[in-house]
Symmetry: C2
Subunit: 711 residues, 2 copies
């Protein structure tokens, strides 16, 4: 992990390009730093000035006596490399390059960006940016940005790939009373990227929750590692934008076609335990669940308490829509509620204390439900009335959460002026409180997501299988030597078998006699298919024969297929005919893999057959970091799972064998990153065992032999 | 349509139960009315007082000289009937019954509620409530509620089934600056219900948009009629809560099982042109699209203009997620943009004018895109910067919308203090403006939904078919006479044929000879099935024989099936054996109907076969008000539509015949509301024509013969 102490809490800061002209970035940064409450040394650097804003000015960073731990650079792009070299020579620890005009601007800018990154690396300096707003830490405090404001001190570490969004969010946050520990515009992420910022924020003591706005991820592996570590300590909530750009590339496999760019991010976020937000307000809403204290739900059962039936109904809809459950209150709890609530109250869930009840009655109801062992979380709802003091209720709720820290709350006090103070009291004490019930439910969802993510990270067992790597290398070499990237059916089958995946017997025959011989060995009936990487629609050209029951019909069919191929596709490379033992139909599934940058191989599982693309009943996980829980959940997410369990009286299928196959495909694609795409379709599941009936595999265009890679 | 003038703008108001004791409802109502600015006469009614709040008090309503147009009742429930009779005698036009303790409280209360409703009806009085907060109209102005506040004057007519929610929303709205024309707590809706309020608000000149919070609908037909009328004039946005309660009833058909209670509401809202909101903030967000002017989008193509790339990316995601399209800007537009924007700007869509551009540059970009014929709506996004004045930009946007009223805008100026004034300027001029891009997209969605809803109402042709009603009545009578509700296969087939629905030939045989005879007439092969309402799993007991190719095997199979049935199900009523001509397989579909109170018959269409329940690839529409557009869209919503168009090289199927079948089922179920459930499954579509292979039909429990009913 990088040490970012000199970035977030330096003893001294040099501002390269400091200026006395109001409105210039080099002036705004100096003034922001001075007014932020920063207590270290501030050194303006500018060859042209003696003093700036009353501070002594130095021509170069090297001229500062005692040097500077942090340098902020706001001079034109072409002269940034020189400044970077100066910083390196002066022993600067971290550099913030605010200057724009790099990768985002032009090819020359891109070259310049590479150069300054190299200088930073060579001099062991952290470099943030270029092309960024800068960094703020409210706890140091320090503000080395050209933003117009400084955020409220708070628990949220916020990192944005967009500087303009930072400015907008900052303005908004001051209005909303949202506070931050760190507020960072990451810029071009040439060196320091999201992985570094996550790792650091996970380790600090000021941030309760990490929020990010991302448009891309620089290094998939580093990101996954940092996030998985961080989530053990605090929630990471990410809004990943640019979802819709994805998946435009042409793909030759079903998996490739269905695995749009976002599927990889979705799988990565899930496997890293990241809470994903789809909208900015959802991101901050979910963050609210962790401000003032990290709320973790141990289950999905929610008790709703309300003084207004309508709010309870809305909350129930939202809960069920979000996949949470209304807790079933025990008879004992209901009895207790009957004792403390008025006659007209509802003691089921939602518990409706009715509108004329006061805060003591509300508190008594909360007290009853919190003791119910069937309750994991509480959703208190309030409509303002003349007889209930929301501030006293808030105080009571805070006491209760302290007494029962394992039962988190997310509340909605609907209204404006009459509930404002109570709302703020609750939030500052770690109880999220929102204007509408649906938002409070979003808070609960975040608590559940975080609890489940931690469980997944702690209990999931990484899967490992042994494969015959030499055999696979041998097959790939032979394919490459023949100038191909697409494996023939029998080759792909052999690769699968080398990794312990059950396939139907399938061999390549180069003569009619060999075909007959192979068929005898396998046992009848068999199917024949023309073996050619150039013929896609084999059936259409008479390249397939099914249900062959004896040797002579196999031999005759061989000749017919070869004849058809040479007649109908004279230019195709034909390697012979694939002889395949015919298996009885099982539950038709598909298992596949496509490369999903920056995360590597992405697995797909789902319902197979001709409707794969139509139904899109599929789920995805990264092959790297794959655990037994991931595989189980991946299967469970599809409707295929219902069929495997035995739909409408059918016998259940061999789920263990299906799971193992997914795990073995993961191992194969981790071991051989040169596999670009893979489809097993159909993949049949039987009562006992499974079988791959057709395996399609394509190697990467630019491959350098079978490299080993453990994800 | 009811005349609600005496409710919303009475010349005089009597408050029955008026009181001088602060805090009592009868006192709060008097004070609220006095302080609301109401200019008519106010008459407190209370037998015990001389004057209340300085106003002369009358013992009974009849004692008021000149009477009162509106009476507000806040006396205990048991004496409300007397007061209602007094109002009737005094010629009161409208009554607001605030008092609780009616249907919501007890069976006695329910009886009391029926009584006061009867009194209101007999005396031609409008009655709002009972059990409500009361009514407010900011334009009269008048406030006859016991709420603590009075709303800002505005464009939204708001009606809520929950009084507590009204109080909460009112408090919230004052904080948010949201204004209302009418603000109504509907209470128990014993007489005046949502249909009356919608019809009135549609006709008034003060409301631009109608908002409702509903938990139930009293009269489905009246509601549909009022809503369809209203939507021609102004948008109706409804949050229907209690979604999750629905669908708990047991159903014997696939359609019944899949048509949970919410499917009926969803279909009704769509067919009435209502914009549905899932969350309270969404409801007000969508309403914002119509405040200050009704924005209607003519298409789904959006041009995004932004000064911050990140906001543009977020907006693009949100647009595509919502089913809107990024407009393709013409070469001419792009050229114009190149001329007015700085070099680094992006002239594609989103148009990124970049962060250092000022409001004039922004305005020039808007000016270019608004003239592009490929643009239906504009989404301006702003991140606050030092160089752009949001207020001047707002003024420019208002001018532009006035010049191009057919190209609506929904904007997002992200931030707090620095964009607040611009935001308010825009909103008050009919341009919705939101803190985040995703919310602005929600505004655009509302404009598109409203535009499409109006088109659907204006262009959709109601479908009508003629059926042989006598034949159906005859079959139903015969079924009822036999003490059955479930029709035998051949009976259900005959009903379908009477409405022009193509079915496979299917007849009941009572003897082996008759079975052979029928099979000869139909042509071989045929299938035989035991005809019994008591045997559900016919195959399991040997009650089905397929692929019978000649007369003698038909006769033999008849005897075998009858034997099997009497052996295995000795208690079942067996009416013989169904002889059915075997048809080749077509595209397997399902068409069905289930009753969906309060809206009547609800049609279902979807992918048929054994996976109906697993895939749930189905769509729903009400049989009443069904148009050609509804049927076309209903089919298009399913994946089955892709199969019908010819999936993967298959020949397209007879879509017209499929549509006609749906229309004929609608006619049948409108004509015979006593049909409780109906499934045609499988329903085969061929290249030419269609065929119902199996029809299941169940009559309602409590039916009084075949009534005619035109929806």
């Amino acid at each position: 992990m990088r040490d970012l102490t000199t970035l977030y809490g330096p003893e001294s800061v040099a501002i390269v390009g400091a200026s006395d002209s109001p409105g210039k970035v080099g002036n705004v940064v100096v003034r922001n730093l001075m007014s932020s409450g920063y207590e270290g040394e501030i050194y303006p650097v500018n060859p042209g000035g003696d003093s700036i804003e009353g501070l002594q000015c130095y021509p170069r960073v090297q001229d500062i006596p005692g040097g500077a731990e942090l340098a902020v650079i706001c001079i034109p792009a072409p002269v940034v490399p020189d400044a970077m070299r100066d910083c390196g020579a002066a022993g600067v620890g971290s550099v913030v390059v605010i200057t724009a005009g790099f990768k985002e601007a032009s090819p020359e800018g891109e070259a310049l960006e590479k150069e300054i990154t190299r200088i930073a690396d060579e001099n062991d300096m952290n470099m943030m940016g270029p092309n960024c707003l800068g960094a703020m830490n409210t706890h140091t405090p320090i503000n080395v940005t050209f933003a117009a404001d400084f955020p409220h001190k708070g628990d949220i570490a916020f990192f944005s790939q967009s500087g303009a969004l930072c400015i907008a969010i900052l303005d908004w946050s001051l209005d909303q009373g949202v506070g931050f520990s760190k507020f960072i515009s990451m810029g071009n992420k040439a060196q320091l990227n999201e992985a570094d910022f996550i790792a650091d924020a996970a380790a600090d003591t000021e941030s309760q929750v990490i929020l990010m706005y991302l448009e891309s991820i620089e290094d998939g592996d580093a990101f996954m590692e940092a996030a998985r570590e961080a989530v053990q300590k605090k929630p990471v909530i990410i809004l990943k934008s640019g979802v819709s750009e994805a998946g435009a590339e042409a793909a030759s496999s079903h998996t490739g076609a269905l695995a749009g760019g976002d599927e990889g991010f979705a799988a990565a976020f899930r496997q890293a335990g990241i809470i994903r937000a789809g909208r900015m307000q959802e991101e901050f809403g979910k963050a609210t669940a962790f401000i003032g204290g990290i709320n973790i739900a141990e289950g999905r059962r929610v008790a709703v308490v309300t003084n207004a039936g309508g709010l309870g109904v809305m909350a129930t809809d939202a809960l069920e829509g979000a996949g949470l459950e209304l807790a079933e209150l025990s008879e004992e709890t209901q009895q207790r509620l009957r004792e403390v609530l008025p006659d007209m109250a509802a003691v089921g869930n939602p518990v409706d204390i009715v509108g004329h009840s006061d805060e003591d009655t509300y508190a008594a109801a909360l007290d009853a439900v919190v003791r119910d062992p069937g309750v994991d979380m509480i959703l208190p709802l309030l409509s303002p009335t003349a007889v209930l003091d929301p501030n006293r209720l808030a105080e009571y709720m805070i006491e209760q959460v302290r007494a029962h820290p394992d039962i988190p709350m997310s509340a909605s006090f609907t209204g404006g002026e009459s509930v404002r103070a109570a709302n703020e009291t609750l939030r500052s004490s770690g109880i999220p409180c929102f204007p509408f019930p649906e938002e409070a439910v979003e808070g609960l969802v975040a608590m559940v997501e975080y609890g489940e993510a931690r469980t997944r990270l702690q209990k999931g067992q990484l899967l490992h299988y042994e494969g015959d790597m030499d055999r696979v290398r041998e097959i790939f070499s032979s394919v490459r030597e023949q100038g191909r990237r697409i494996l023939l059916g029998p080759e792909a089958m052999a690769v699968a078998r080398a990794y312990g995946i059950d396939t139907v017997p399938s061999e390549l025959a180069e003569s009619a006699g060999e075909a007959g011989e192979l068929a005898e060995q396998m046992g009848f009936p068999v199917a024949l298919k023309v073996a050619s990487p150039d013929i896609i629609h084999k059936t259409d050209i008479g390249g397939v024969q099914l249900d062959l029951e004896d040797r002579s019909s196999v031999q005759q069919s061989f000749r017919q297929i070869m004849h058809n191929a040479s007649e109908r596709e004279p230019d195709a490379r034909v390697y012979g005919v694939e002889v395949q033992k015919m298996f009885p139909p099982g539950q038709e599934l598909i298992v596949g893999m496509a490369q999903s940058p920056p995360f590597g191989p992405l697995l797909m599982f789902g319902l197979g057959g001709i409707f794969v693309d139509l139904m899109e009943d599929v789920s995805f996980r990264l092959a790297r970091h794959l655990t037994d829980m991931d595989v189980a959940e991946m299967i469970e997410e599809t409707k295929a799972a219902q069929l495997l369990r035995g739909y409408r009286g059918e016998a259940p299928k061999d789920l263990d064998a299906v799971r193992e196959t997914v795990g073995r495909i993961a191992q194969l694609t981790r071991d051989f990153p040169e596999i670009a795409e893979l489809d097993i379709n159909p993949f049949f599941a039987y009562e006992n065992g499974v079988a791959a009936l057709d395996v399609k595999m394509t190697l990467a265009e630019d491959a350098g032999g079978a490299e080993e890679h453990e994800g």
